[in-house]
């Protein structure tokens, strides 16, 4: 087992931990934090493959992922704050208006 495979396995683990957080956490803010963990795992894969190809394109993609993650956090937290201000919700199990 070479070290680049260890890096890729680590990034898969980080991604799956973030997925478990998105599935199982109650708080909306913590669900967003788990999405950030998933994005970090993807970035680690991109940079690892990049190093062992000797190119820079994967790092450019990781830069775009960082940019879009910042935009996503701004919009997502704005949505959470406005949901909380309009309805007083704070957990993912209370938002059932589209279902009922």
């Amino acid at each position: 087992m070479s070290i680049e495979k260890a890096y890729i396995l680590l990034s898969i683990l980080v991604f799956l931990i973030g997925l478990l957080g998105v599935i199982a956490r109650k708080n909306l803010i913590t669900i967003l934090v788990s999405t950030e963990i998933m994005l970090n795992g993807v970035n680690l894969t991109l940079v690892t493959v990049d190093k062992y190809l000797g190119k820079v394109d994967g790092q450019v993609f990781a830069l775009f992922v960082l940019t879009v993650a910042a935009a996503e956090v701004a919009v997502g937290l704005g949505l959470i704050v406005s949901i909380f201000r309009l309805k007083g919700y704070e957990g993912s199990s209370e938002i059932v208006h589209l279902r009922d």
């Binding site: 931990i17 973030g18 199982a24 956490r25 913590t30 680690l44 940079v47 000797g54 910042a70």
Partner: protein, 162 residues
């Protein structure tokens, strides 16, 4: 030596990620996430991506985490108390699925072979800048438009309704 550094950083990152999804309070969860971001920046440094490590520190550890803490402070504490922790049933059902998926993908990774290195880039920042502003110029401009739209959207969402 490489394995030792990787082992320390990987252990730190995994402990931080697990803490971020398992700890009860949202504030503690964000602090665990911050520690994970630092470990991730160190991993980027050990992979030779210096510019990305710096940007990870600047964007994630400074901007995004502070923004999360700011939003948490706007929400009253007794409301947050009712939604701490995890849903038990979803956690117990999701954990075996996650382990199974990890075993499948790791089997594929260990069985397969990675592409051979063609040559190491020595000056990371210069190469990244050249690639970004030649091959990826149009996606760069699109990313700026996405940031502008997100800024306008966040302002519109955060307004007081008259």
């Amino acid at each position: 030596m490489e394995w030792l550094i990787f082992g320390i950083l990987a252990f730190w990152l995994l402990v931080s990620a697990l803490g971020a999804i398992l700890v009860r309070s949202p504030v503690h969860s964000i602090l665990f996430f911050l520690s994970g971001v630092l470990a991730m920046a160190a991993l980027f440094l050990s992979l030779g991506a210096e510019l990305l490590a710096g940007l990870q520190l600047i964007i994630y550890a400074v901007a995004i985490v502070v923004f999360y803490v700011l939003v948490i402070t706007t929400i009253p504490w007794e409301k947050v108390k009712r939604f701490e922790g995890v849903y038990r049933k979803e956690m117990l059902l999701g954990f075996p699925v996650v382990v199974l998926v990890f075993l499948l993908i790791s089997y594929l990774v260990l069985k397969g072979s990675l592409a051979m290195p063609v040559g190491a880039s020595t000056d990371n920042v210069r190469d990244l800048g050249k690639t970004l502003f030649t091959s990826y110029l149009f996606p760069f401009e699109v990313a700026s438009v996405i940031l502008l739209v997100a800024m306008i959207g966040a302002i519109l969402l955060g307004r007081k309704e008259e």
